[in-house]
């Protein structure tokens, strides 16, 4: 595909959780909780009206779904702020500092005064019905091979509640995630090549990870904005894997091209959408379709609409394996139905040719016309079919602007309309924060190293292998490494590999490695440094610390890992020589090998091999020459 000709434009939006001690507006910890909740709260949300009685498009659609929300909360881990039963506490300064650091790393202009806003979101993910967010900085940039990319905005906001599931029409959220500080980085929509997007995402990731941010699944979320000249801006949410980005772009461009082709064909056919909704339930009195008979037996209805001039287009593929019909169904599903049936796929799913003909007769369809069927409770079915009508009408005009969710195969499905811009107003419960220029200067004077820079530096400075250095940076152990190196005289590889590999193994074995703080690590390595234990004993000592066996030295004694003194080693070797004097006399220096093995076995790693070697060599030579 020739992206340039199509006028492809892309922008990136990254949401990164910060690893602060407390949440953005309350003192709760920023941790997800696996335990069963202590409370469940039932809440409803209503969109508030804006001027001219106009209600936000996205907000209005959510409210039409009349959803009830359940919020799971805890005695200790959550508080009344998350449950919207207490006003927010003042802005978390630690989060603000991290945001300012990142703003500086991205060459951005920091605002003089930070204002917290309320952004209306009534899908239940925020207990208040709005997300708190504020603009920290604007107008930054990063360099890429394909040119400079502008970083438009950096916002500090609170993360939403965690969606747990759905039960009897009620959506269940957990309050653990709500309020974790989140940074939103937005680029301008100027990127023209998928590779450039990947590069920007990578670089932004590097910048974010040089500060105190959360790691792991779900702690960073990336949204991609895509449009082509004739299409529309579409936001694809939840992009996880950078490598699928080019494929995703391709599929979205295909979808927009497909929709434009459908539009053109519809215009040519002079197509239209009939406004009437027909109750065709009686045509299905004896149907074999399980979906329909189940809906009708529960008192539901089968509703049909007429799409004049649409025949054959509903089955048109617009993304690999997804048809225009799938798009229409996406809109219907948002109203709570499980799906729809359309002309182009029938007869099928237990719906017979006779039934199809009877519908066509009932709706007075010509051979270019199509119908759509939805079977469910009357209210749900009506809402769903109205959505399909609305979407079908748009199909004759344009590609709709919408928010979509990424699917595993790099396709996407409809989520909701793009939010209109006008849904923010000020959070009156939080005072504004002046960002003092002195504080900003101090942050700028102490910017962290980016991960790649750090890796290159420690390789050069300490002679570490590429792999160890890489692991240290990735595991955020590089600073610990440098600290330990400043306190001991050990060789860097011993310390580096312990931090890079041993700790990882211990964690894999289920040990609590948070007990291995820098002080205890320095103590352990100092034992090696001073010759009290062998290098090989480090693993066992660290293991012992995780198991609460005491201080490194106590563990060394308990586990019998303390090195023998030179004179102890010498007297053990003397004993061995005496026992094996015949062999030495016979084999001369050839006795070195077997005696070395015997010595080491007897010393059980409590002596340095080099020392043993020296003693043996000297003593054998003495015997031979003596």
């Amino acid at each position: 595909m020739n992206y340039e000709e199509l006028g492809l434009k892309m922008g990136l939006e990254i949401h990164q959780q910060l690893n602060t001690e407390k949440k953005l507006f309350c003192p709760c910890k920023c941790e997800l909780i696996a335990e069963k909740p202590d409370y469940k709260l039932l809440r409803y949300l209503r969109p508030t009206q804006s001027e001219l009685g106009k209600i936000d498009r996205a907000a209005f659609e959510e409210s039409r779904r009349k959803l009830e929300f359940i919020y799971e909360s805890y005695d200790h881990e959550t508080c009344l702020v998350e449950s919207d039963d207490e006003p927010p506490h003042p802005l978390n300064r630690e989060a603000l500092e991290i945001a300012l650091t990142i703003a500086s790393l991205l060459n951005m202009n920091v605002v003089d005064e930070f204002h917290t806003m309320r952004k209306q979101v009534i899908d239940g993910s925020n207990t208040g019905g709005f997300q708190r967010t504020g603009l920290i900085a604007t107008d930054g940039h990063i360099e890429t091979e394909h040119g400079k990319v502008v970083i438009e905005n950096l916002c500090l906001e609170e993360d939403a509640a965690r969606r747990i599931g759905e039960k009897k029409g009620k959506i269940i959220f957990r309050l653990d995630r709500l309020g974790i500080p989140l940074l939103e980085v937005t680029t301008d929509p100027s990127m023209k090549h998928p590779e450039q997007v990947r590069d920007v995402a990578y670089q932004l990731g590097q910048v974010l990870r040089s500060t105190k941010v959360k790691r792991g699944l779900g702690t960073i979320r990336q949204d991609l904005n895509i449009s082509i000249s004739e299409g529309a801006r579409v936001e694809i949410k939840g992009v996880q894997d950078l490598d699928t980005m080019p494929k995703m772009v391709e599929n979205e461009v295909k979808r927009q091209i497909g929709l434009i082709e459908i539009r053109n064909e519809l215009l040519k056919r002079n197509a239209s959408v009939d406004e009437n909704i027909h109750d065709v339930s009686k045509l299905f009195d004896e149907t074999e379709s399980k979906i329909i008979s189940k809906a009708v037996s529960k008192g539901g209805k089968v509703l049909a609409i007429k799409l004049i001039g649409f025949k054959g287009l509903i089955k048109k593929e617009i993304q690999p394996g997804r048809r225009f019909g799938t798009e229409l169904a996406g809109y219907a599903k948002k109203m709570g139905v499980s799906g729809l049936f359309h002309t182009d796929e029938l007869p099928a799913y237990g719906i017979t040719m006779e039934e199809v003909t009877s519908i066509e007769d009932h709706l007075e369809l010509s051979n270019q016309d199509a119908f759509i069927l939805v079977a469910d409770e009357e209210e749900k079915a009506t809402n769903a079919i109205k959505e399909v009508q609305r979407r079908a009408k748009t199909a004759m005009i344009e590609v709709p602007e919408e928010t979509r969710k990424v699917l595993e195969d790099a396709n996407s499905e409809y989520l909701r309309p793009l939010p209109t811009a006008s849904r923010m107003y000020v959070e009156t419960d939080i005072p504004t924060t002046v960002i003092k220029r002195n504080d900003l200067e101090e942050i700028r004077a102490n910017l962290p190293e980016l991960p790649d820079e750090k890796k290159d530096r420690i390789i050069k400075e300490y002679g570490l292998s590429q792999d160890i250095a890489n692991q240290l940076v990735r595991l955020e152990r590089a600073d610990d490494f440098e600290y330990i190196m400043s306190k001991t005289n050990l060789d860097p590889t011993t310390v580096g590999s312990a931090l890079a590999y041993t700790l990882k193994e211990l964690r894999r074995d289920g040990k609590d490695i948070s007990k291995l703080d820098n002080e205890v690590l320095v103590e352990t390595f100092s034992l090696v440094d001073s010759g009290k234990i062998a290098k090989d004993a480090v693993n066992e000592i660290l293991n012992g610390i995780c198991d609460d066996m005491g201080s490194p030295e106590e563990i060394a004694i308990k586990l019998n890992l303390v090195m023998l003194s030179e004179s102890d080693v010498e007297s053990i070797i003397d004993g061995l020589i005496e026992e094996n004097i015949d062999m030495i006399k016979e084999r001369k220096m050839g006795a070195m090998g077997p005696l070395m093995g015997k010595s080491m076995a007897k010393l059980q790693g409590k002596a340095d091999g080099k020392l043993v070697n020296k003693f043996l060599k000297d003593k054998i030579q003495n015997i031979i020459s003596g």
Binding site: H115, M117, A421
Partner: protein
């Protein structure tokens, strides 16, 4: 405009006013946005603009330049009239607003929140109200709950009486929550009503989608249509948006600074539970005034010079003397435990009685009955002439004393009124069920 100091000068010299689209240049960055007013704060150097993205930011005017891009009008909200037709089948409910926002309109262009007061505003924000009744809305004043004064209780009582005289089948009063229980107690004493009078409010402002205003309002309208012709208070019963409780106006108190279920019946059960627009009595044995059994009587004389004093370790008698010297006509003492205060206060309490100033003893325990016969200090306080507030809430006793003194300055008469159950404020019997519910 609340701008002052440097920022006011800056705007003035740049010829800019609120609502204008402006461009601000600062250290090489330019910002485009609508100039907004500041919220009240001591700041003197930051101007606030709303960017296209919807975000507000503050810009320090030092080293900044600003120019007008397009002058803007002061935003005003114009909503089209609704043309609601009256439904003869439905009851007429009046909603009287005293302040606090029951409904709000947000102007997203500037982010301003405008309280809505007229009946139409209310209906626009809560169209479901029309399913229950013909709604007639009236804003009588717009004051914060903490600024309520006894004279406003009187105005409110008169407005409610007007609504009832004009044929309202029930009246809902929208009120800020801080002093809502004082007002509900005051109206309870001042009005004998043939129809329900329901006070309600919101703990979460109505400009947010999670506001409790909507459920409280709908439930109040349901209560106003009911058979319970008393002054009551209707608010969330739980942290959930599950149901509301209707509390007796004299037996209810705000118990939490922020929770939705802050109002609790004290020394009593709530009157009723309102769930999904259905009202159900909480206790079938509960006695209440039924609709149309009383005719409307308004007794709105109030003595405003009444003091409300809390006893505490180390309290000095001079505090009592001060109020006597200053000409206070009555005092409510919020005593400790069963109704006690330090012995040192007793001479001053005797002096109050001598000067015909009634002192009512209540308890800061809130729950339970005042009984000054159990300990010797209590007996001495009693013989000093202090009147027991029995199981009345201190706030209710305060309002009742102000009302009683509006009718008589005879201390014996006052005592008689205090010990007569006027509006369900006195309960003879304590039940297991009355504590912490």
């Amino acid at each position: 405009m609340v701008y002052k100091g440097l920022s006011a000068e800056f705007l003035d010299s740049s010829g800019l006013s609120i609502g204008d689209l402006i461009k601000v240049e600062k250290n090489g960055t330019s910002y485009f946005g609508i100039l907004l007013d500041r919220a009240e704060d001591p700041d003197e150097k930051h101007i606030v603009i709303k960017l296209n993205s919807g975000y507000n930011i503050g810009i320090d005017v030092n080293n900044a330049t600003a120019e007008l891009v397009e002058s803007g009008d002061k935003p005003k909200i114009e909503l089209a009239p609704l043309n609601i037709e009256k439904d003869a089948e439905k009851p007429d409910i009046s909603i009287v607003s005293t302040g606090g926002t029951v409904a709000s309109v947000i102007d997203y262009k500037t982010g301003a929140v405008h309280p809505a007061f007229t009946a139409e505003d209310l209906i626009r924000a809560n169209p479901e109200l029309l399913e229950h009744a013909n709604i007639n809305g009236k804003a009588i004043f717009n004051i914060l709950s903490e600024d309520m004064k006894p004279e406003y209780w009187v105005k409110t009582a008169r407005s409610v009486a007007d609504e009832i005289n004009n044929g309202a089948d029930g009246v809902v009063i929208a009120h800020g929550t801080d002093t809502m229980h004082y007002t509900s107690a005051a109206l309870s004493f001042m009005l004998k009503t043939p129809v329900p009078v329901v006070v309600t409010g919101a703990q979460r402002s109505s400009d947010r989608p999670s506001s409790d205003a909507y459920m409280n309002l709908i439930s109040s309208v349901v209560a106003a249509k009911s058979d319970i012709a008393e002054v009551s208070l209707c608010m969330h019963a739980e942290e959930d948006d599950s149901f509301c409780y209707l509390h007796r106006g004299t037996k209810v108190r705000k118990m939490h600074t922020t929770r939705r279920d802050t109002f609790r019946s004290i020394n009593s059960l709530p009157l009723a539970k309102i769930q999904k627009s259905k009202l159900k009595l909480v206790d079938k044995a509960m006695v209440y005034n039924k609709r149309s059994t009383e005719s409307l009587i308004i007794e709105d004389e109030i003595e405003e010079k009444v003091a409300f004093i809390k006893s505490y370790p180390g309290i000095q008698a001079e505090l009592i003397d001060y109020h006597i010297d200053k000409g206070y006509k009555g005092m409510v003492l919020e005593g400790t435990g069963l109704g006690h205060c330090p012995e040192e206060l007793i001479p001053s309490l005797e002096r109050a009685a001598d000067e015909s100033i009634p002192v009512i003893m209540t308890s800061q325990c809130l729950y339970g009955l005042v009984n000054m016969n159990v300990y010797s200090t209590g007996r001495r306080i009693l013989s000093a002439g202090v009147i027991s507030g029995l199981d009345m809430l201190p706030e209710t006793a305060f309002v009742k004393l102000a009302w009683a003194l509006g009718q008589t300055d005879n201390i014996k008469e006052v005592e008689k009124i205090i010990h007569t159950n006027v509006a369900g404020e006195l309960g003879e019997k304590s039940s297991e069920k009355f504590f912490l519910n």
